[in-house]
């Protein structure tokens, strides 16, 4: 996280848009690219964030730090992208495809794991924590998920958003949320296993 050294004891601080690029551009870019995995779009978002912030500068009341405030603006823009991606025409087909893909995981009659899809011990778990490869494989597996599923997964497991906020932002019901959380992990884990070995 960014540590803001300019913050005064009262919580008020001076806003200086001329310093934004120098102080926050790389940070905001990294924040965006980790979540949407598209460098060009992430760059655009950084620009949009600064321009939107300039318009709102007068309303900034210093209740949060400058960096927190800018990150919040960016975050809302990312949620807009999640929303757009997951409500487009593609939504129905990509969800249907992903559901078909995992139909084979379990026996339709008794709900047991089918032999071929059983999770297997990988035995190198701790190595993965420091593996740079993980982030590459993980991004690829995230991309294979339907947009709605990866959005729900990212909002919950990356940003730890409240479930009710996710449901509201992405226009899904709570029971839908739990189904998606489950299915996203089933597919993600299967994809990771395939690529780990």
């Amino acid at each position: 996280m960014l540590i803001d050294k300019n913050k005064s004891a009262s919580g008020n601080e001076h806003i200086d848009p001329r310093q934004w690029v120098k102080k926050y551009a790389d940070y905001l870019y990294t924040y965006a690219v980790t979540r949407i995995n598209d460098e060009e779009q992430a760059r655009d978002l950084v620009q949009e964030t600064f321009l939107a912030a300039l318009e709102k500068v007068k309303n900034f009341e210093g209740r949060s730090s400058e960096s927190t405030w800018l990150t919040a603006i960016l975050k809302n823009k990312i949620i807009d992208i999640y929303r757009k991606k997951s409500s487009g025409l593609l939504k129905k087909t990509d969800v249907a495809d992903a559901e078909t893909a995992q139909k084979d995981f379990f026996d339709p009659d008794d709900g047991h794991w089918n032999e071929e899809f059983r999770p297997r011990e990988i035995g190198v778990e701790e190595d993965l924590l420091v593996s740079a490869e993980f982030s590459i494989i993980f991004q690829k597996c995230m991309e294979k998920l339907p947009a709605l599923w990866s959005s729900v997964f990212a909002m919950k497991h990356m940003d730890e958003e409240l479930t009710e906020n996710i449901c509201e932002a992405l226009k899904i019901t709570p029971s839908n949320f739990w189904v998606i959380i489950h299915r996203a992990k089933l597919n993600l884990r299967a994809c990771l296993q395939k690529n780990w070995i």
């Binding site: 870019y29 059983r118 993980f138 489950h182 993600l188």
Partner: protein, 92 residues
């Protein structure tokens, strides 16, 4: 016993509860059902271990990326700086 049968033998339902549990407290009943299932099902125990690991790795990934900022190229930054200056001067 009959109502328990559903979960005891059902890995799909057990993995659902494994996911739910990592986000929200399960009800007493759900907890008991999951425990019974996991006692008898080594495959779902592996699933649970890996699922928890994945969540940990994802958090790590986010945390790490904050420590190692990716860099925007200088040209883009310069343009951005100019745009901000323009906006500021416009409002003077």
């Amino acid at each position: 016993m009959n109502s328990l049968k559903g979960i005891i033998y059902n890995c799909r339902q057990a993995t659902f509860l494994i996911e739910k549990k990592q986000i929200k407290k399960l009800t007493f009943r759900e907890n008991v059902e999951l425990r019974i299932h996991l006692t008898g099902c080594s495959v779902c125990r592996v699933f649970q271990k890996q699922s928890i690991l994945i969540n940990r790795l994802v958090k790590n990934l986010i945390h790490d990326s904050h420590n190692k900022d990716r860099k925007l190229d200088d040209n883009f930054k310069k343009n951005l700086q100019d745009k901000i200056e323009d906006e500021l001067n416009k409002n003077k």
